[in-house]
Symmetry: C2
Amino acid sequence: MIGIDEVARAAGVSTTTVSRALSGRGRVSEATRERVRQTAERLGYVVTAAAATLASGRAQNVGVVVPLLDRWFFATVLDGIAAQLAPRGYDLTLYALTDDPAQRRGLFETSLRRRRVDGLIVLSGLLTDDEVAHVTGLGLPVVGLGVPRGDFPSLRVDDTAVGRVATEHLLQRGHRDIAHISESLPATSPADPEFEIPSRRRRGYEAAMADAGIRAPRFAEADFTIDGGRRAAHALLRSAEPPTAIFAASDEMAYGVLTAARELGLSVPGDLSVIGVDGHVLAGLFDLTTIDQFPHAQGERAGEAILAALEAPTPAEAGLAAASLPFELVVRGSTAGPPA
Amino acid sequence: MIGIDEVARAAGVSTTTVSRALSGRGRVSEATRERVRQTAERLGYVVTAAAATLASGRAQNVGVVVPLLDRWFFATVLDGIAAQLAPRGYDLTLYALTDDPAQRRGLFETSLRRRRVDGLIVLSGLLTDDEVAHVTGLGLPVVGLGVPRGDFPSLRVDDTAVGRVATEHLLQRGHRDIAHISESLPATSPADPEFEIPSRRRRGYEAAMADAGIRAPRFAEADFTIDGGRRAAHALLRSAEPPTAIFAASDEMAYGVLTAARELGLSVPGDLSVIGVDGHVLAGLFDLTTIDQFPHAQGERAGEAILAALEAPTPAEAGLAAASLPFELVVRGSTAGPPA
DNA sequence: CTGAAAGCGCTTACAG
DNA sequence: CTGAAAGCGCTTACAG
């Protein structure tokens, strides 16, 4: 394999100069720089990552911690992150977060500590205190995206407002009996309900209901899957007094609600109105009203934020203030007034 | 940051021994190994990736080239790969493949050549001759998954059989007028139709039709998206003699067909039968008959294959013969007999 | 089974 | 603007 010394020889300069010319760090005359660049290109020389990292302390690599890789939302965010990093010459190393305790220990105690990355993006997911301590203990810039913790700078949508907007949309359509389906935090959860997404959406829902003078809001628990939404909706819709509208905390849960409605012979929106959250790529197909939270753009923002932190001259300038991300109500055919 | 020499001092051995004890390479007495391990754990020492890579030539990292990260199919395959790599201590670096020529050049000519990874998994996508040459020129083990080229070992489903099985299912239901929707290769494509997935599925479809004595099979071109399927279906269904059944080359295209049918007031399967391919997670929700190709398992297989190649004592033993992946017809409510 | 020492391929003060 | 040399933190023949 061709190394930096061969390029130096061919260009008639020292390896020092080759390094400087190629990296753009340090002063080199324009003529020399150009000659070195062309020589490197001609010889097909590319800097070896490991050597450059060891010598410089910079890996030119960003780690992304992702729960549920195969979920549309996270895959889309990831795509947005990749779109930012690649053009800037950064690679992206993926750290999948599972529910397996052994795998998580390996991730936080070993994988992440190999110093393979310069910075870390953590996508929403529940971390224990211990795990958060490991992340902050890395001494690396960290950007969270919807992470339910205040321990490091995190970009987030105002999820309380999301819950409120979704609920108010249904109220405006004339519904009073509106149920909310979401995940509920286990009592033992390390997450702070103040920051945690499902809790915030639920709070927005409850506030909107209270403002409308409606007591006893109805909540049904489900995990963030189609089937979770389907089961919860079945329970709700077969009760003595089925709601006329359901606000699901994700579009995938809302798909489950639509399935349950179909299985029970209910028409949407004739018998039941349904609204979700996310802006899922298939929501148009299902004619589902939703709150779009632009996940691809969220990924881009997270990518920009980590790059800013990495390239800021001083840590102070990194200025990773938690930023608020936009969202938007997209009205489609799944919401209408209540049945007469 | 704590280094190997501190561990050596604390354990009362040389750094040589620490390295051997922690890596498992080379002989160390069991007692010494255990003592070193405990010392390392107590001090929170983890080997620095860059230093170990530079010294050993092993990066403990696998690269994955992915087109369309946000597509369910690829995200699911990726999840399968990650599930294999993580437990074996390998990290995963993502290389997103876009349509932008500059970005692709950067990927193949620079990013991939930084020697950040020990091996590469290339997910199905069209590569030019030049790009393939760059990949094979890396001198790294490479495993393709559905890659339309014979240049490196590739795991693949027998897509001709997939096309045949899907078509025969519709024939058995009594359909004669069956259309196929898929992507068609541009004339300038670098892909060999012998290997390329859409061509093979189409060939299976045509063969099944011919065997049933049906001339003039009907083909409509579309890209692999919901909207692509929707447009193609519109054209087909509004023609003078609309088909009674449509075989879409992916589930997402099939969703588009379902949408078109709904928009045209056609009932499925009353007026139109529809079958897709993939085993998409939402296919059950759409009640869509499909050919499941188990993408998560495909990812696991690709992960196993690259690990086997990396850990084989000799390149010969790596034995990356192209393997054939399973698929399965899953019959649901979207297919029935033709209208009377 | 264990260790001293060379070396992996770069980057970067330091000096000129 | 340019270069000689030290050093980044490990691994691994080689020798014992």
